[in-house]
């Protein structure tokens, strides 16, 4: 009775790929395609960014940072949401794979967070005259980075994988509940203390080509994230499932190649 409950039926259910041994080869097959897509999109995006998009009337050329800055900022937030989603799925359905996905996503999310911060800082120096101001948007991005670090530090510090999974899932969910609270509180805090002396100087009407470049770069980031996550989750699956038969077969195939 219990046994059947633990293992969902391998029928045509939606959760078919929740079985690690099915997902492992699927991930291996898909990752290169997404990586390829990411490369192609990046090239197109960079071409749009540097050779098609016009010089900005107010900011001059500095604005070209936007083509990585904004996609990175978007990604860093999306990735956290997806992480929280997988965590919730893991806690509710008790599927190991969901936890692994959450853990595989975190470093990439943190990486995008850093990219947004660094590019923002480098953009800020010439436009605002300072690498950093305590603007609401910047600050909530910084706190998001701490949330990522907290998640990663916690899951790293716990050795028992089952405990690490669940503890990470709890903190990811608590964080996700807090992200909007943090965002709005920070926004309010800032506007309370000082007017809009520093706000993002948006180009009045963003040229269509600029928008196109940004969107293409955003798509590239998506493809990149998916590819890297799939690559990262594969060895995680093997380590977790190492006592299962299919892993032994998989390792047999690898023997000699590593």
């Amino acid at each position: 009775m219990m046994k059947e409950m633990k293992r969902p039926e391998r029928g045509k259910s939606l959760f078919r790929f929740a079985a690690p041994q099915l997902f492992y080869p699927l991930a291996g097959a898909l990752a290169p395609w997404f990586a390829g897509a990411a490369a192609v999109l990046t090239i197109i995006g960079l071409w749009l960014a540097f050779f098609v998009a016009p010089t900005d009337a107010q900011q001059g050329e500095v604005y070209r940072v936007i083509f990585i800055h904004v996609p990175a900022a978007w990604m860093s937030m999306f990735v956290y949401l997806i992480m929280a989603f997988w965590s919730a799925v893991g806690l509710v359905m008790n599927t190991r794979l969901s936890f692994m996905m959450a853990r595989a996503l975190a470093p990439t999310g943190a990486m995008f967070c850093v990219v947004a911060l660094v590019t923002g800082a480098l953009w800020g120096k010439p436009t605002w005259g300072a690498y950093w101001v305590w603007d609401a948007r910047l600050t909530s991005q910084l706190l998001l980075l701490f949330l990522y670090f907290g998640f990663m530090a916690l899951t790293e510090a716990i050795e028992d994988p089952r405990r690490a999974d669940k503890a990470g899932a709890i903190i990811a969910l608590v964080g996700a509940v807090n992200v909007p609270i943090i965002y709005f509180s920070v926004k309010w805090w800032n506007t309370l203390h000082q007017g809009a002396s520093v706000s993002l100087t948006k180009a009045p009407s963003m040229a269509a080509t600029m928008l196109a470049g940004m969107l293409v770069m955003a798509l590239a980031s998506w493809a990149y994230t998916i590819a890297v996550t799939l690559w990262r989750v594969r060895p995680l699956i093997l380590e977790r499932e190492r006592h299962a038969e299919w892993v032994a077969a998989e390792l047999d195939a690898l023997e000699g190649r590593i």
Partner: protein, 208 residues
């Protein structure tokens, strides 16, 4: 009646046991034996529901303990390796708290009697911090002397640090509990003078 089927326990890279099944009827005493590090403590924690087995299931009176945690824990008394003593509280306060936390309603006098009975008459209001090893152990064990009706006792090395007289006393109490229809599951490396020698489950024979 405690029934466990097909249990497996994996720690890190090491499979401690698998396919382990056991069954303990009312009135029986089961001793989990085996050399150091063969998984006795791990097994007890799994049987209590504190840890989850890698595989297998456990039933108490026919119902899975995972699905019916509350009523299982209402009949369980587990004493682990750590004696669950707070160093700032006296033995009496510690004992009363342990009972209240477990949901038992126990009178102060009954607690005092149990502590005196177990040989802590002089230490009733010392903070637990200054007690000797054996005395600390005794405070934890005092819950067994309260006459509370919890039928399943799970004890991890209860004789550790006790002197010979205390070992004999405890062995008698355990035997009595079984005689009254209770169940005792314990581990120990020491011999103790039980009224009826316990059934032994040797993990070195089950070992994966």
């Amino acid at each position: 009646m405690l029934y466990a089927a097909d249990l497996a326990c994996l720690k890190g890279d090491r499979l401690l046991f698998r396919g382990l099944s056991l069954q303990v009827a009312p009135g029986a005493m089961l001793r989990i034996a085996g050399p150091n590090g063969f998984g006795k403590t791990s097994l007890l924690r799994i049987l209590c529901g504190l840890a989850h087995p890698e595989a297998g299931e456990i039933r108490w009176n026919g119902r899975s303990i995972a699905s019916d945690r509350e009523s299982f824990h209402r009949t369980l008394l587990y004493l682990g390796h750590a004696p669950a003593l707070n160093d700032l509280l006296t033995p009496l306060e510690n004992l009363r708290f342990a009972c209240a936390a477990a949901g038992d309603d126990v009178d102060e006098d009954v607690c005092v009697d149990a502590l005196v009975r177990i040989g802590l008459a002089d230490q009733l209001d010392l903070p637990a911090r200054v007690l000797s090893q054996g005395q600390r152990r005794r405070v934890g064990l005092a819950r067994l002397f309260l006459g509370i009706r919890r039928s399943l006792w799970v004890l991890d090395e209860p004789f550790t640090a006790l002197d010979a007289a205390a070992v004999a006393d405890l062995a008698t109490t355990l035997s009595d509990h079984c005689a009254a229809g209770g169940v005792v599951i314990l581990t120990t490396h020491q011999d103790a003078p039980f009224a009826v020698p316990p059934t032994v489950l040797d993990l070195s024979e089950v070992a994966a």
